[in-house]
């Protein structure tokens, strides 16, 4: 049980690290939010699961915390994304000359 709990705590830490790495590597705010939100949400859930295995008598409160994180994390991310969208910041795109660029016909949204 102790080993399994440690494993989940380690996975949580690994995803938190990935989230931080994503913040450094991504090119613009939208992508940084993407990297930050997802990795950290699963990381936090993994932490909570690990703590739940260490202290099984806390399961009810941990369940409430997990639900709260699952509900508020995406709302916070979307609020930041909407704010920068309304501020007129355009998402980063690959240059057309880039070999990795999207082959689909360009749809210029000048909204």
């Amino acid at each position: 049980m102790r080993l399994l709990a440690d494993l989940f705590l380690l996975i949580g830490a690994a995803f938190a690290l990935l989230g931080a790495l994503g913040l450094l590597r991504m090119p613009d705010t939208y992508n940084r939010i993407q990297a930050g939100t997802k990795a950290v949400t699963l990381g936090a859930l993994s932490f909570i699961l690990g703590i739940g295995l260490l202290y099984p008598e806390w399961w009810a409160k941990l369940l409430v915390i997990a639900g709260f994180i699952l509900f508020t994390n995406p709302v916070g991310s979307s609020s930041i994304a909407r704010a920068i969208h309304l501020a007129g910041i355009q998402p980063w795109q690959r240059a057309a000359s880039d070999p990795q660029a999207l082959k689909a016909p360009q749809e210029d949204k000048s909204a």
């Binding site: 790495l21 990795a39 795109q93 990795q100 689909a104």
Partner: protein
């Protein structure tokens, strides 16, 4: 949100639903279902329901049908699989030296009418592979998509991003 849809009025079953939700939250926070806590929790939940229900019109989006819990469970199962896939996908992108992303803004369409339904759909989209809800306008959700390879038009994006969740959410939300 610029234009919140008019919520349907709350019915008696909705009041019972709010009461049950408050009661469940109380019991989870207390942690031990003794008789004393059950009685006290019931009283507190009753007061909370009566005082706050007029402000909780968002609950009108809940479909109170007999098979709703089943749909909720299926939605949760689908959601957790998508959440884990999202994280592995994001981990792969972050760790790849070439940073394989092709971000675009796309719009998806939703058939969910209620505020709660759209909130849940937008939240689900944010937590699933490579997508981030940016804005909601009428029945369109603006989504930032890390890898828009499947296509940037409305139909392709809706099929890829929203259709799966909507099928499950439609079972218990308007």
């Amino acid at each position: 949100m610029d234009n919140i849809s008019r919520e349907p009025p709350l019915t008696l079953p909705h009041y019972l639903f709010i009461f049950a939700t408050a009661n469940l939250l109380w019991l989870l926070l207390v942690g031990e279902p003794s008789r004393q806590e059950l009685i006290l929790g019931g009283l507190v939940s009753l007061v909370v329901t009566l005082v706050s229900a007029p402000h909780l019109l968002i609950f009108g989006g809940v479909k109170l049908r007999i098979d709703a819990p089943l749909h909720l469970l299926r939605y949760l199962g689908y959601f957790f699989v998508a959440l884990i896939r999202a994280n592995l996908d994001m981990a792969r992108r972050i760790l790849s030296p070439s940073l394989p992303i092709n971000p675009r803004m796309v719009e998806v369409e939703t058939g969910l009418r209620s505020t709660l339904g759209r909130l849940m759909l937008a939240n689900s989209i944010t937590l699933t592979p490579g997508t981030l809800s940016v804005d909601v306008k009428d029945n369109h959700i603006l989504v930032h998509w890390v890898d828009a390879s499947p296509g940037v038009d409305l139909e392709a994006a809706t099929r890829e991003i929203a259709a799966g969740f909507e099928r499950y959410l439609g079972g218990f939300l308007r």
